[in-house]
């Protein structure tokens, strides 16, 4: 099924918010960050083994920062690849070793601060898109590139990144890149919209311990093979807009024609762009002129 003409790129974005994972380790000791990373490595290895031409990248997202775990920059310059001693396919052992080393380095040098409980995924997604763009340009002529991004989300959404996130989603849709989401804890409206708009798959995992199973069964097959599988049904996405004044979801609103900000009530001035609007004047009823009858 896999021919040399098709290259599948899978970019995994993993949310490593230390606060959420720390609380998670206390809630459920069987499922910690290391078990999650083990499951990820299984998925990564499986993807690389599916075809010789498959490519992989892994990005870790820490609050607002993102860091490429694989392929890493140090690998390019200092080639100290340990040859595997147990006969495993060398690419897999190299991948696993590098991955483990990078995540250890990342965790060592991170300082945890109590206020950062939310994760801003837009940065990692933007970098993933640029990476895919670069790799697509480097292929030989005649080769097809199909790419997707798998997001594994732990902590909650942050509303600060709405605009950047939407820009990333539209860019992915334009380049035909699917965004899949595997959500561990709370539902994320932004990721639901992303999966709906780009055509990817959104799944909220009922049992976290079985993460490996879900990853291999649901997220490993690529887009062509998904039509032959019976996958979780699409979720109902709430596309209602939130008004800028109260952040309530509204069904009918007023949109400023200049800056496109949404309000729930009519107001004479737009708070975002400060333009004064024309007020609709109330209709004046015409009074009929009564003809005064003159007495003859």
């Amino acid at each position: 099924m896999a021919s040399d003409d098709e290259i599948n790129i899978l970019v995994i974005v993993i949310d490593v918010n230390p606060i959420w994972w720390g609380q998670q380790a206390q809630r459920e000791p069987q499922f910690t960050l290391s078990t999650c990373l083990d499951s990820l490595m299984v998925l990564a290895n499986a993807h690389l083994v599916m075809s010789r031409t498959n490519k992989l990248a892994v990005i870790a997202n820490l609050y607002q920062n993102s860091h490429f775990l694989y392929p890493s920059k140090q690998w390019k310059l200092g080639d100290e690849i340990s040859t595997s001693s147990d006969g495993k396919y060398e690419l897999l052992s190299v991948t696993n070793d590098l991955f483990a080393e990078e995540i250890k380095n990342l965790m060592d040098r991170t300082e945890v601060s109590g206020s950062q409980t939310e994760s801003l995924l837009a940065v990692s997604l933007a970098k993933a898109l640029c990476y895919i763009h670069r790799v697509s340009k480097d292929v030989q002529a005649g080769q097809d590139v199909k790419s997707r991004i798998l997001v594994i989300k732990a902590a909650e959404d942050s509303t600060l990144q709405y605009m950047n996130f939407m820009n990333v989603i539209f860019a992915a849709q334009k380049k035909n890149i699917l965004i899949d989401a595997c959500v561990l804890d709370a539902d994320s409206g932004l990721l639901q919209q992303a999966c709906d708009i780009t055509g990817g798959l959104y799944l909220r995992i009922p049992q976290k311990i079985a993460l490996t199973q879900y990853l291999l069964w649901v997220f490993l097959p690529d887009a062509d093979q998904r039509s032959q599988l019976l996958l979780p049904p699409p979720v109902h996405v709430d596309y209602r807009a939130a008004c800028f004044c109260h952040r309530n979801l509204i069904e009918i609103g007023y949109v400023c024609s200049v800056c496109l900000s949404i309000f729930c009530n009519f107001s004479p001035i737009c708070t975002t762009c400060e333009t004064a609007f024309k007020m609709p004047l109330p209709q004046m009823a015409k009074t009929k002129k009564k003809k005064v009858k003159t007495a003859i």
Binding site: F170, E251, Y254, C256
Partner: protein, 399 residues
């Protein structure tokens, strides 16, 4: 009307020595110059960042396509009409991608008459289907600029004042057959604040120059097919709003998408209002978008409710236009040698911030806000498609 000084025509200026651009190096090879030219071609884009200028977001655009005898000319392959229609399909798609809440209508003109091909609508599929059918039509007679502009004006004059009313004419003939004085029509167009732009396929025609100058549009004549595409794409971006367009609060509805399944007790299949005038098969569907004001059903957004007149959109449609309002600043170009890179483990690293690729091009691009460095491919990608800088997102806390 002729007060403006005429621009000097190209044949009136001195001749340029275009062969002097190519320079050979010591071994006689032109490779360095060719690479330079390719690099410049990649970067060639008119970077008019409007900054604080107000843009016309809701646009009503009429495209007038000349279908007269001159369109059968084969200087564009296979003939001008086919080439134009193919580019128009691409234009319609890009237009709705960049301006999701705008509308487009198409008018053709031939045989001294003008005919509406499609009415103003917000759905690209109808326009593309109509354009595909027109490929078989014959090009005959003379075009009529007056009739086509009049036809477009009849619809545009009823549009609300806060929208941007535009007409784009693809004009290939050198003559036009008008029943009345076109200068009067130009005055009327000016009064209605309609902006007319022309893309000429043959040569510069004086009446088009005056038309575009008076109404504030642009007039260009194509050199070849790729230039034609570039000129069309210039019209995809929203133009700066004229000072006279009013700003108002537009009432819009944000319907929910209801997916009802067969097992629901209350689910009843119903017709969608958008199928009222279409001759296609009437589809009974279970789910759809219900107008929040009158509960009429529609299958796709954006649409204007036929029953109550409310414009229905979804939040991502408005979000698509945000990058026009908050455009990304251009990056600063510096030569590669000046960039030192980071040093990790005593090795010098020069990597692009976004794609992690090694920086090999002649120059690197720095974002002025966050000071991160990008390669030329990422710079193009970020400014054309992505519209957000990954470096800035890491440093600031607000979206």
């Amino acid at each position: 009307m002729d007060e403006e000084p005429e621009r000097a025509k190209r044949w009136e200026g001195g001749y340029e020595r275009t062969w002097e651009v190519l320079k050979e190096d010591e071994s006689g090879s032109l490779r360095a110059t060719v690479e330079d030219i390719l690099f410049q071609a990649k970067r060639k884009r008119v970077f008019e960042s409007h900054g604080q200028v107000r843009l016309g977001m809701m646009r009503h655009l009429f495209v007038i396509i000349d279908s007269s005898r001159s369109m059968e000319d084969q200087d564009l392959k296979p003939n001008r009409l086919t080439s134009t229609l193919k580019l128009m399909e691409y234009f319609v798609e890009e237009y709705f991608d960049q301006n999701p809440i705008s509308q487009v209508g198409i008018i053709t003109t031939k045989n001294k008459r003008a005919e509406k091909l499609t009415d103003l609508a917000g759905n690209p599929k109808k326009h593309i289907a109509a354009l595909k059918k027109t490929v078989d039509s014959t090009c005959v007679g003379e075009p009529s600029l007056y009739n086509s502009l009049n036809l477009a004006m009849q619809t545009l004059k009823h549009m609300p004042a806060h929208t941007s009313k535009e007409i784009l004419v693809v004009f290939s003939s050198l003559t036009t057959c008008d029943p009345a004085n076109i200068y009067e029509l130009i005055k009327t167009l000016n009064g209605l604040k309609i902006r007319v732009s022309v893309i000429g396929l043959s040569a510069e025609v004086r009446v088009c120059t005056i038309l575009t100058r008076e109404t504030g549009g642009s007039y260009n004549v194509i050199l070849d097919e790729s230039h034609f595409k570039e000129l069309l794409m210039l019209h995809v971006k929203p133009p700066p709003a004229s000072s006279s367009s009013e700003c108002s609060l537009i009432r819009m509805g944000f319907p929910q998408h209801v997916i009802a399944s067969m097992s629901d007790q209350d689910a009843k299949p119903s017709f969608s209002m958008s199928h009222l005038d279409s001759a296609g098969e009437p589809g009974l569907t279970l789910g759809g978008y219900y107008c929040p004001q009158c509960r009429a059903k529609y299958t796709e957004l954006p649409v204007e409710c036929k029953v109550c007149g409310l414009t229905l959109v979804s939040a991502p449609h408005l979000a698509r236009s945000f990058h026009h309002l908050f455009p990304l600043e251009a990056f600063q170009e510096t030569p590669l040698e000046e960039y030192e890179g980071e040093s990790i483990n005593l090795c010098l690293f020069r990597f692009c911030e976004a794609c992690q690729g090694e920086l090999k091009d002649k120059s690197v691009f720095t974002c002025l806000a966050c000071k991160k460095v990008f390669c030329v491919e990422c710079d193009l990608f970020i400014h054309d498609i992505l519209h957000c800088c990954s470096g800035c997102m890491q440093t600031d806390r607000t979206s």
